[in-house]
Subunit: 388 residues, 2 copies
C-alpha cells in the first residue's frame, strides 16, 4: 500500500530519466570530443568518411602477373593499399578470370568491376578516337604521349571520349617503342609484304593490309603455335622483355626494327564513375596518384629490362636483327595517313582528338629535333664504338 | 516531512544510479561499435596512428613557384595534402627563404627542414658520386636515368651514398635534355672555346675548362646581367621553357644545340631520415608515391611546354639556332672521360656508382639503337617535311 499521492510516486522516476538522459548526453559528447581533439577540428567530417572500408575488383586484359603489362595493376593495388592504410583493397583479376580479356571495357562501364587495366585502342570499335590514347603508327613516343596527355589537352579529350560510357580514364604505363616484330622471311621490299599473313591488330593492321599484307588478330596465347604451324608468317607482340617469355625466337629467325606501328604505347586504367565518386576525396586522390606513379614505373621497368632480354635473344639464341627498308616504311606511312583521314572523316570525336594530337606532334617533333633526338644521335657521333 | 524509513528513501537514488550507469555503458558501447562496423576490426591500431597530424618544412634550391623546377615540390605538397586528408601538411620554401638555396642539403641533413628539392650534383663537394644521380655529360637521357634508378640499382646506390648524411633521396622530376646554351659568338671549332667565359656548373664546367674555356659558377639571378655586361660570354640554364622567362634572348643571339652536358637531368627530393621514420606507414607511402607521381609530372610539363617556348623564341624574338660542330663535341667527350676517371679514382663510392651507371648505359644504348633512337630517326625518313 502506498500512501503517497500520485505526483509523489512519479517524482523518482522523472528524476531518474532526466539524470540518465544527462549522463548519456555527457557520455556521447565526451566520446565525440575525444575524437575531435586528436583529429583537428577542421577534419571532423572527413575523418568520419575516412573510416569507411572499400573493396574494388580490377579486371585486366593481360594474363595475371604478366611482366610489365601486368605489373601496373598489381602496383596500383599495392600502392593504394599502403597509402590508404588498407581502407581501399583492390583485387586484381587476370584476363578471363571473371570477365573475358576483351570484356574489360564493358564490365567496368556496367559496374560489374570497379576498375580495369588494358589499352584504349582495344575499344576502337566503340570509341574510334581511342587509338590516339594508346599508339598511332609513326606517332608520338612514350615521353611525348605523356606530355600530350598531361600538358597538351590529351587527357581531357580522353575523359570526354569515355564519359558516355560511365568511365574515367587514366594513363596506365607505357611499354616504350615496340619492336617491328618476328618474321619467317626477310623483308627487302614492299613486294615481300604481298600476301604475308601477320598478326598485327588495330589501326596498324589496317595499314598493313592496305600495303598488300593480310592482318590477323589473335590473342597472345595462340601466337607461338600459329607462327610455328604456318597459320601466320609474322607477328608483333611487344619487345624483347615480353617476347622472350613467349618464346618466339624458337619459331622465327628474324627480329625486325624499327617499330613503326606502336611508338610508345600508353596503357590505361579505367574506373567506373560511380565507384570512384563513392570514395571519399582522399581515397579518390590516392587512386589517381597511384595510377600516375605506377604508370611511370612501367616505363622504367621496360627501359630497365628490355636491354637485358635483347642481349640474351641475340647472344644465347642467335636471333638475327633486320631493319625494315625505307621504301617499306614509306608505304606504311602513306597507308597510315589514309587510315587516319578515314577515321577522322567517320567520327567527329576522332577528328577532334586527331587535331589536338597532330598539333602537339608538330611542336614536340620540332623541339625534339634539336633536343632529345639530336642528343641521342650525338652519343654515336662522339662515342662511336667506345663504352661510356 | 518524510515519514518513510531510511532504506525506503534511498531506493530511488540507487535505482537512478544503476540505470544511469547502464545507459552510459550502452551509449559508449553503441558509439564504439558504430566505429568498428565501418572500420573493420583489423585496422583499429592503424587508425589510432592515422589520426596524428604532421607539418613539414620543405626547402628548395629554386625561386618559389619557378615553372617546371619549382612545380615538383608544390605538386608533392598538394598531392600529399589531398591523399593524407590534411594529416601531413608540407610547406614549401623557395631558395633563400629560410635557408640559402645551396644550404638545402645541410638543412635537411641536420633536421632544420624535413625535406628538400634540388639537384644531387649540387652536393658534389660532399658526395662526389652525386653527379651520376642528376646528369653526366654524354650520359643517360631522362627515360634511361629513371630506368637505371628504378630497375638498374641506381636508387639503392643513391640511398647508400646519402645514408651517412641522414638523408633519404627520391627522384624529383626531370627537365629532359637541356639545351647547349646561349652564346654571344659562333662556335665553329675548338679554337672558339679558348678563353671563352661560360657559366656552366658541375662536372660539365670542369670539362669545359679542360677544353680551353673558363667555367664560371653563378646563381640564376645574376645570369642576365652578367651576359649583358660581358662578365661572361656564354651560359647554359635549362631549355626554352625556363630560358625564355629569364630573357636571355634579349642579350644573346645564338642558341646552341645539341645539349651535351645535361642529357636528362633528374632532380631530387631529399627527406630527413627521422622525419620520415616519425610518420605512420601510410603517410610514408604517401610521401614516396607522391614523389614518384610529381616526378613524372615534371617531365611531362617540360615535354609539353618547351616546344611552345622554342617557337616563340625563334618566331617572335629572332633567336638563331646553331649546332655545335662534331669536333667540339668530341673534344668535350674526351674531357668527360678524363673527369669521370678522376672522380672514380678519388672516391670509392663514385667508382662503384660509375660502374653501375656505365653497365646500364651500355645495355640501354644498345637496345635504344634499335628502338627509341631508331624510331625517332625513322619519323624523319618517312615524314620528311610532311606534318602528321
Amino acid at each position: 500500500m502506498n500512501l503517497a499521492p500520485a505526483e509523489k510516486r512519479f517524482t523518482p522516476i522523472i528524476i531518474l530519466l532526466l539524470v540518465a538522459a544527462l549522463v548519456a548526453v555527457i557520455a556521447l559528447w565526451a566520446t565525440d570530443n575525444a575524437g575531435r581533439q586528436t583529429a583537428g577540428g577542421h577534419r571532423g567530417e572527413a575523418l568520419a568518411g575516412s573510416d569507411e572500408y572499400f573493396e574494388w575488383k580490377l579486371v585486366t586484359t593481360w594474363p595475371k602477373n604478366f611482366p610489365g603489362l601486368g605489373s601496373a595493376a598489381e602496383n596500383l593495388s599495392r600502392m593504394v593499399d599502403e597509402m590508404s592504410n588498407g581502407r581501399l583493397k583492390i583485387r586484381v583479376y587476370g584476363g578471363g578470370e571473371i570477365v573475358p580479356a576483351l570484356g574489360v571495357f564493358d564490365a567496368v562501364s556496367q559496374g560489374v568491376a570497379d576498375a580495369g587495366h588494358g589499352a584504349a585502342y582495344y575499344w576502337k570499335g566503340k570509341v574510334p578516337s581511342s587509338v590516339f590514347f594508346t599508339a598511332v603508327p609513326f606517332g608520338l613516343n612514350a615521353q611525348e604521349t605523356f606530355g600530350w596527355l598531361h600538358y597538351g589537352g590529351g587527357l581531357e579529350l580522353w575523359e570526354e571520349a569515355y564519359a558516355p560510357f560511365n568511365l574515367v580514364p587514366m594513363g596506365g604505363g607505357s611499354t616504350g617503342v615496340q619492336m617491328g616484330g618476328w618474321f619467317n622471311k626477310e623483308i627487302n621490299s614492299i613486294e615481300d609484304l604481298q600476301g604475308l599473313k601477320m598478326r598485327i591488330p588495330g589501326l596498324a593492321g589496317e595499314v598493313f593490309t592496305a600495303a598488300g599484307g593480310t592482318s590477323v588478330t589473335l590473342p597472345g596465347s595462340e601466337l607461338y603455335t600459329s607462327l610455328q604451324t604456318g597459320v601466320i608468317d609474322a607477328l608483333e607482340w611487344v619487345g624483347p622483355y615480353n617476347d622472350r617469355i613467349l618464346g618466339f625466337h624458337q619459331v622465327a629467325k628474324y627480329y625486325y626494327y624499327p617499330g613503326w606501328h606502336e611508338p610508345g604505347s600508353v596503357l590505361e586504367f579505367i574506373v567506373n564513375k560511380e565507384s570512384l565518386a563513392a570514395l571519399p576525396e582522399d581515397l579518390q586522390a590516392i587512386v589517381r596518384y597511384a595510377a600516375r606513379a605506377s604508370s611511370q614505373d612501367m616505363l622504367d621497368e621496360y627501359t630497365g629490362r628490355n636491354n637485358e632480354a635483347l642481349r640474351e635473344l641475340i647472344e644465347d639464341h642467335g636471333v638475327e636483327l633486320r631493319r625494315f627498308p625505307d621504301d617499306v616504311l614509306r608505304a606504311l606511312w602513306e597507308g597510315t595517313r589514309e587510315a587516319l583521314d578515314k577515321l577522322a572523316t567517320n567520327d567527329p570525336m576522332a577528328a577532334k582528338v586527331y587535331a589536338s594530337y597532330s598539333d602537339f606532334y608538330k611542336g614536340v617533333r620540332n623541339y625534339h629535333h634539336i633536343s632529345e633526338q639530336s642528343y641521342i644521335n650525338l652519343r654515336d657521333v662522339v662515342l662511336e664504338d667506345e663504352d661510356f
